[in-house]
């Protein structure tokens, strides 16, 4: 569980926000909606343990990310995945190399396992056969989905997605939403930073938002799975597995 207590952030001598509370439990998906330059990415970095908040604290599984042991912070980052707002595209770098890097972070995967998992995940995000495509030649939507697939490769317990739905595009919102809900059902904790709550989801979910600073927080709890369904689905799920503990 990720809990943020009264956190605040200052950027370029300007207080972005303060007093933000958030508690994201296991199997929950949160959409943090905020206008441009409101500090969504800063919030994401703070919640991931990458940037110390200027006030308040972030606690994961009962231990502070910033006042606790550095090992706890490192372990949390090992268990979490992050899809950045824009995926850096070095010339000549292919998607296969990104997956290779993810495999290095995970460790212990054979080439066959890596290839199989990469193929499954790319087809899941609509990029079948794109293993050798250069990242620089991908569209913004494709890059966002590719970055998502790369993170899923490590099966992180926590997922942080920065402008993922906006970048993926309207036509992918439903499919990605279904995928994210499936992940939440697998007891992942998901945090999406978006400009606004996706219209495509309004009709299906229609949550009532909470206000926190400049943000509107939408909590989407995954419907619990029937035990039988859980048993049947777990072995074939393309996203199941464990990241480093």
């Amino acid at each position: 569980m990720i809990e943020a207590f009264r956190i605040g952030a200052v950027s370029r001598d300007r207080t972005l926000w303060e007093g933000v509370d958030l508690a994201a439990g296991t199997g929950e998906m949160w959409v943090v909606a905020g206008p441009p330059s409101s500090g969504k990415t800063v919030l994401l970095h703070i919640l991931r343990g990458e940037r110390r908040p200027d006030s308040g604290d972030v606690v994961v599984d009962g231990e502070s990310l910033y006042r606790g042991s550095p090992e706890h912070n490192r372990r949390f980052r090992a268990l979490s995945g992050v899809v950045p707002e824009s995926l850096p595209a070095e010339p000549g770098k292919t998607l296969r190399e990104l997956f290779l890097l993810s495999a290095l972070a995970l460790g212990g995967l054979t080439e066959n396992e890596r290839e199989g998992r990469m193929g499954d995940l790319l087809s899941l995000v609509g990029l079948s056969g794109a293993e050798n495509v250069e990242i620089s030649s991908l569209s913004a939507s494709e890059r966002a989905r590719a970055a998502f697939a790369v993170e899923l490769f490590r099966s992180p317990r926590y997922l942080f997605l920065d402008m993922f739905l906006a970048n993926a595009g309207r036509e992918w919102a439903d499919r990605m939403g279904a995928l994210l809900r499936a992940l939440a059902r697998e007891e992942k904790t998901i945090l999406l930073m978006e400009r606004r709550f996706p219209d495509e989801w309004q009709a299906q979910i229609a949550p009532s938002p909470l206000s926190a600073g400049p943000f509107r927080l939408y909590r989407l709890a995954a419907p619990p799975r029937a035990p039988k369904e859980k048993e049947q689905q777990a072995p074939v799920s393309p996203v199941s597995g464990t990241a480093e503990g």
Partner: protein, 295 residues
């Protein structure tokens, strides 16, 4: 079934540039190894000089050949001596005649005016004032020896020049090592700079930078051992063939068979180890330059 490992992170993620850089590193390591092995065998100019220089112990006229051979045998047992050979008076006369034709008349009524002598050649490592003095002090007290010829003052200045020549040659090797180290450091800095985005990615996903650095360094040492082993092996083979088939090379570095001596192989092994450690240290230094401790 390959499993990607942090040991080979550079090779896994930047195989092309790594191959090119390693080829250059191998070439340089080969040249350094060739230089080092040639210096080990030749001792700089020691072997060449030792091949040219002899100490002559002139015996009294009338010393029997058996005694002359006995003196040569005893001298040969001295540590600085590579070879001691007795030349009987007849051999000495033939050598004199060959050197000074037309002076046959000196041998009046068939009497040989020349005595026998012992020709002493030093080991290359003993081509020094101390080596010469040790042989001289062993020969001078022998009653059958009339005179010991060692080259006198000329030899002293020659030995001084030899020392300077050796210093110059070893300095050349040191320069090769310094250039090699500079190239290694430049390559390693470029490598870590290239790795920057990947390290950020990994660190952001909970892989400690220290672990990446240590595993990378271990990989660099292993790769360094392979490169140094191959380069030194190739240099050894090249020198072996040259010493076996090219007489001028043999004069400078000695016979190819000496390349199997433990006294030669041990420093060669040490060279491999040093070259590998140097590559590991350069890898760590390159890392530290890009990712300072406690950043």
């Amino acid at each position: 079934m390959s499993v990607p490992s942090l040991w080979w992170i550079d090779w896994t993620l930047h195989g092309g540039p790594m191959r090119r850089e390693t080829a250059g590193r191998f070439l340089f390591c080969f040249l350094a190894a060739l230089y080092f092995l040639a210096m080990l065998l030749s001792g700089g100019v020691d072997r060449f000089l030792a091949g040219q220089y002899t100490i002559s112990a002139i015996l009294h006229i009338g010393v029997p050949d058996d005694e002359g051979r006995g003196i040569a045998g005893k001298v040969a047992a001295l540590p600085p001596v590579r070879e001691a050979r007795y030349h009987d008076p007849e051999q000495a006369w033939e050598e004199f005649r060959a050197a000074y034709p037309g002076l046959e008349s000196l041998r009046g009524e068939g009497r040989n005016p020349l005595p026998g002598y012992v020709e002493v050649r030093l080991r290359p490592g003993w081509m020094s004032d101390e080596g010469i003095a040790e042989v001289r002090s062993a020969l001078e007290p022998v009653s059958r020896v009339e005179k010991v010829l060692t080259g006198g003052d000329v030899m002293r200045s020659l030995l001084r020049m030899k020392r300077w020549a050796n210093v110059l040659l070893w300095s050349g090797f040191a320069l090769v090592c310094v250039v090699f180290l500079a190239i290694l450091l430049m390559q390693e800095k470029a490598r870590t700079a290239r790795l920057l985005p990947e390290v950020s990615f990994l660190a952001g996903r909970g892989v400690p930078e220290g672990r990446i650095a240590s595993m990378r360094t271990a990989g660099a040492v292993v790769a360094g051992i392979l490169v140094a082993l191959l380069a030194t092996g190739l240099a050894w083979a090249a020198l072996f063939l040259a010493a076996r088939h090219l007489p001028p090379v043999r004069v400078a570095v000695g016979s190819a068979e000496e390349m199997f001596d433990a006294g030669f192989l041990l420093p060669a092994a040490l060279f491999i180890l040093c070259a590998a450690m140097l590559q590991g240290l350069a890898s760590l230094a390159g890392w530290r330059a890009t990712f300072p401790k406690g950043r």
